[in-house]
């Protein structure tokens, strides 16, 4: 008979070790289907590693991929801390990207010092507004935000397709569903010469620092944490629970919107309906791997990005499907969940005698 006993105090070492262990466990578990696919497992992982970190180019690619993941990861951190289950990050990312091209591809002309902040604000606002809907539906009608945010993802992507075949279509695209390019003044400038890495990364890092300060040192952050830990106790303590949840929704949606701005104005230069290969969903994994720590989200995003970039390059080299990356990321999420359990509980073997006695009492 096995019993789980809460640990009297949380072990600091375990808390750091758990996500690392989870990531390692995910890689080990993913080796099983990899071996079934007939791939040389160790060589595949070696190729993944060098594909993600093996050169300056690889490293910049990984950081480029990490940029949207930092922001969607932070969006999930903010929401999940307050126990607002925002699973609509993918849709909010697209809303932000759409706003960025709506403002930044010629509608407004201004110098870069105005344009760059403008597209960032537009993207943040669009993502925030999109998340406001589910938050209000939850507060006014009790509609579960998990389902509404998930369903909205599909609505938003269809809306983006509609815009790209309609008002936002590039007249020069020969009928291809893509937006006009972002004007030069609105482009987030590159960070490393001749590489794709762009200053969206700085936006992500600043956002991580801001969220960190928000949670650690501000009343808003305190209220958000309190609502997440025990909403009724927070209400009893006089914390405006509804207002706090709306604030959380706006910040979370806005951060995901910024991820979309970066992809459009920093990386691609224009919007297509396949802008994001699931950065929104991967953001959930980033947040959980980071144990909902804003600074940890940066590291977790680099890990997830490395898995994607490494798997792409491994796939090109030995022909194994790059869906392996999605598999590793999914397994990381499940493993980190178990890892969190290990940090909170001790596993005790109970002798038969004790077990029966326990059952009789219960």
């Amino acid at each position: 008979m096995i019993r789980f006993e809460p640990r009297p105090e949380r072990n600091r070492l375990l808390r750091v070790a758990a996500p690392i262990g989870a990531a390692a466990a995910a890689l080990v578990l993913a080796a099983i289907p990899l071996a079934f696919a007939g791939a040389p497992v160790l060589r595949a992982y070696a190729l993944m590693f060098s594909g993600a970190f093996g050169s300056v180019f690889a490293l910049t690619e990984t950081l480029t991929r990490a940029t949207p993941l930092i922001l969607t990861g932070l969006a999930a951190v903010v929401a999940f801390r307050a126990k607002l289950w925002n699973i609509g990050l993918e849709g909010q990312l697209y809303a932000g990207a759409l706003a960025a091209v709506a403002v930044g591809s010629g509608a407004i002309m201004a110098p870069a010092g105005v344009m760059v902040p403008l597209v960032l604000i537009a993207g943040f606002a669009a993502g925030a507004l999109l998340m406001l809907g589910p938050a209000l539906l939850k507060l006014k009608f009790g509609a579960d935000e998990v389902v509404t945010t998930l369903l909205l993802n599909f609505v938003v992507i269809l809306f983006v397709q509609m815009m790209l075949e309609g008002p936002l279509q590039d007249p020069m695209s020969m009928g291809w569903p893509q937006s006009a390019p972002v004007v030069d003044e609105a482009v987030l400038p590159p960070l490393v010469e001749r590489m794709r890495l762009h200053s969206g990364l700085l936006v992500g890092l600043v956002a991580a620092a801001v969220v960190h300060v928000l949670f650690r040192h501000t009343v808003w952050g305190y209220e958000m944490r309190a609502v997440g830990e025990n909403a009724s106790a927070a209400r009893y303590a006089g914390i405006p629970v509804s207002g706090t949840l709306v604030r959380v929704a706006l910040i979370s949606g806005g951060l995901a919107g910024l991820a979309g701005v970066g992809e459009v104005a920093g990386l691609k230069g224009y919007l297509t309906a396949d802008l994001s290969p699931g950065f929104g969903y991967a953001g959930i994994v980033v947040a959980m791997l980071a144990a909902l720590s804003p600074l940890g989200a940066v590291l977790a995003a680099v890990f997830v990005a490395a898995v994607f970039v490494g798997a792409d390059s491994m796939s090109r080299a030995i022909g194994v499907s790059s869906y392996l990356a999605d598999l590793v990321v999914a397994l990381s999420l499940l493993c980190v969940l178990v890892g969190g359990f290990v940090t909170r509980y001790r596993i005790r073997r109970v002798t038969r005698h004790h077990a029966t006695a326990g059952r009789e009492r219960a």
Binding site: F4, F141, A143, V147, F154, Y281, V320, L327, L337, G340
Partner: protein, 313 residues
């Protein structure tokens, strides 16, 4: 006028039932899980896995019904992962469900790509064919609507009866409903809350797996990436709409199917006056509206989302 003609045509209602079939399996599966107190957001991925596994089994030469069985087993296996994490370990049902969806989806895509590395167009199988029930299929209107469907649709209808009977007419059903409302009472009866919940999640997930298999083995004859396209999430919304009752689940799924079939036909009537995406959005918007309408009155199973540990209140 044309709209009225659509609504009274047998063809339209036959399509509505076809569209409803995977949702019937999905909603039944979700309600079995939720009645036992476990929200299963793995549904979206389990649909993908059931669709892929059933199709692949038939593609590799197994008979159609063996494909259905494999889809159910694969669905149940992913359900077991979700149950293992959420029931004995009591971990977040939201996060675990999303994780299972991501795992089931990525594993299905990986296996499909590995099994069929170089195909330009998705290979096809011979799917379930509509079967005309003798005599019954000759009834005007009802005949073509109900009795010229594929066997999986009938299986869906049969499962509504089976689940309803199990839930309301058997001791197991009573225990299952109690475990989602008041697990301590079940424990006090000397039954295992843990086993009941795990069993419910595995069984519900197996139903979801069959729902996925319907897509590749009856509605279409091939597997496509992204073919599930939110159907799982729609089922979660419909489950609330159906207030966790099998009969209402059937009704909700058919209403939804009718709406979806209607928007497709409306699109051909209206033509290009409106962008096609407007119509494609409608099913998702409708699901959100359905959820918002009933959410306040919804009688959620009282222990939904709440982990339970023996000897600890």
């Amino acid at each position: 006028m044309e709209i009225l003609e659509i609504l009274i045509s047998a063809n339209f209602w036959a399509a509505a039932i076809r569209i409803a079939t995977p949702l019937i399996f999905g909603v039944l599966g979700a309600l079995v899980c939720e009645r036992a107190g476990v929200l299963n957001l793995g549904i979206e991925g389990i649909f993908v896995a059931g669709a892929m596994a059933g199709w692949l089994a038939v593609y590799l030469g197994l008979p159609l019904w063996a494909g259905v069985a494999i889809a159910a087993i694969v669905g149940g296996a992913f359900g077991l992962i979700h149950a293992g994490l959420t029931v004995p370990l009591g971990l977040s049902q939201h996060v675990s469900g999303i994780g299972v969806t991501m795992l089931a989806t990525s594993l299905s895509y990986f296996v499909y790509r590995t099994a069929l590395p170089n195909v330009s167009s998705p290979p096809r199988i011979v799917p379930f064919q509509p079967v005309d029930v003798p005599v019954l299929s000759d009834i005007p209107f009802l005949g073509p609507v109900l009795f010229s469907q594929t066997p999986l649709t009938w299986l869906a209808f049969a499962m509504v009866l089976v689940v309803a009977w199990l839930l309301y007419r058997t001791p197991l059903g009573l225990a299952l409903r109690a475990v989602g409302d008041n697990p301590a009472s079940v424990d006090a009866q000397g039954m295992s809350v843990t086993s009941l919940r795990i069993g419910a999640v595995v069984a519900g997930s197996a139903l979801m797996g069959i729902g996925g298999a319907f897509l590749t083995m009856s509605a279409f004859d091939a597997f496509f990436f992204g073919m599930v396209n939110g159907r799982g999430w729609i089922c979660i919304a419909l489950t609330v709409f159906a207030s966790w009752r099998p009969g209402k689940a059937l009704l909700g799924a058919i209403l939804f199917g009718a709406f979806d079939a209607f928007q497709v036909r409306l699109q051909t009537v209206i033509g290009s006056a409106l962008p096609s995406q407007i119509f494609l959005m409608l099913p998702y918007v409708l699901s959100i509206l359905a959820l918002v309408l009933v959410a306040r009155r919804a009688d959620y199973p009282r222990a939904l989302l709440q982990p339970w540990f023996q000897g600890q209140r």
